[in-house]
């Protein structure tokens, strides 16, 4: 079998890389995962910087196009392969599309910042032999609680964030939430909220995401 033209650069453990991986798996798009040793600072080397000028993972290539920023990469994948795998990740009509974009922006602007800080502090800091910042943890937990209260309310009347179907707005939450629920003692932030818990259960048990978690634990 020929090498797939789609290449994702970066470790599966990276939340941003895993966002792209789950999208590719949902869309049934074959890909090659190219390892990037961050311990060896491979992501800061000139050849890598050419693909990703901020020196972060992931970077992405498909034939002659090179992209970065996980959410932009996912948009490209959904746009290029509309009829493969899970349909409608970004919506098939303008009104649904707008609702997905709205909740995706909520993820980007409100959920991602505090959940990223917490994931780093509670999961990665000790792995990297760094001291945890208790004040930062407290501050960001308080922010995340407010966001999850909004989600709890939303998910009372909506099966998924943007509506009745699973979309990219939900998918984008998988990476950080997986770490917080699975690898920290803060799972109850999610599991104590009835609707958030139900939603998390549904989205995290999707085949594509389970496969990504397997890749992370390999």
């Amino acid at each position: 079998m020929a090498t797939p033209p789609v290449k994702v650069y970066g470790p599966a453990l990276s939340t941003a890389v895993s966002r792209v991986l789950v999208c590719l798996l949902e869309k049934d798009v074959p890909f090659q995962l190219v390892p990037v040793s961050m311990a060896k600072l491979e992501h800061k080397k000139p050849d890598y910087i050419k693909m990703q000028p901020f020196g972060q993972v992931p970077a992405f290539q498909d034939e002659d196009i090179t992209l970065f920023e996980s959410r932009a990469i996912c948009r490209y994948i959904a746009e290029k392969y509309p009829n493969k795998g899970t349909a409608g990740l970004f919506g098939t009509n303008p009104l649904v599309k707008a609702s997905i974009d709205q909740w995706l922006e909520a993820e980007s602007q409100s959920f991602n910042p505090p959940s990223s800080v917490l994931t780093f502090q509670l999961v990665f800091a000790s792995r990297m032999k760094l001291k945890q910042d208790e004040a930062l943890i407290k501050q960001n937990e308080a922010k995340l609680v407010k966001v999850l209260d909004v989600y709890e309310n939303r998910l009372e009347s909506s099966r998924y964030l943007a509506g009745d179907e699973f979309t990219f707005a939900d998918l984008s939450h998988l990476p950080n939430t997986q770490y917080l629920v699975d690898k920290t003692d803060r799972a109850e932030l999610f599991t104590s909220r009835k609707n958030v818990s139900r939603w998390w259960s549904e989205i995290s048990t999707r085949t594509a995401w389970k496969k990504v978690v397997e890749m992370q634990n390999a």
Partner: protein, 210 residues
Amino acid sequence: MAIKLFGAVGSTATLRVKACLAEKGLEYEFVNVDMSKQEHKSPEFLSRNPFGQVPAFEDGDLKLFESRAITQYLAHTYTDKGTDLIIKDPKQMAILAVWIEVESQKFEPASSKLAWELAYKPMFGMTTDEAVVEENEKKLEQVLDVYESRLSESKYLGGESFTLTDLHHLPNIKYLMGTQTKKVFDARPHVSAWAADILSRPAWVKATTT
């Protein structure tokens, strides 16, 4: 009027949408949300934006929040009106989408914290946190170094024409240009020229003066 924008004067997110409406030449009704009276936390407003933030938006039956979702809706819906803020070619659109995320993920966090410390806090009689300023100016410098390189190869961030990604930067740049952080833009010739160019667009002038 079909299009309604619920926002606050001086809100960068509200300005982002106003800029987009002006570029598209769209008529709309502006509904002022008086944040000093906590109107953004009223049950009525929370039904429009459950995060209790401005702006909120309506176009007929469609209700939206999050400024960048609103601008994307406007750019993709009103393709025959005003400035073309997206690109039709799929590959070029994919590149544009990258730089839309860059603004959102890299430029916004550092620039909004700086705008809060240096522009807004003084307005409210609050004390600027110099440590936060120092930390975020460093972060902004790293981001703008990448922009300097990008803009030496591309006239605008998303490509050869002014698009949504450039527009999204306008509100925070406007506030930062009135603070000590202006020097960070001035020190980078391509960034400086690009900022001056987009700040002088008639639609932006309209959005900030009406």
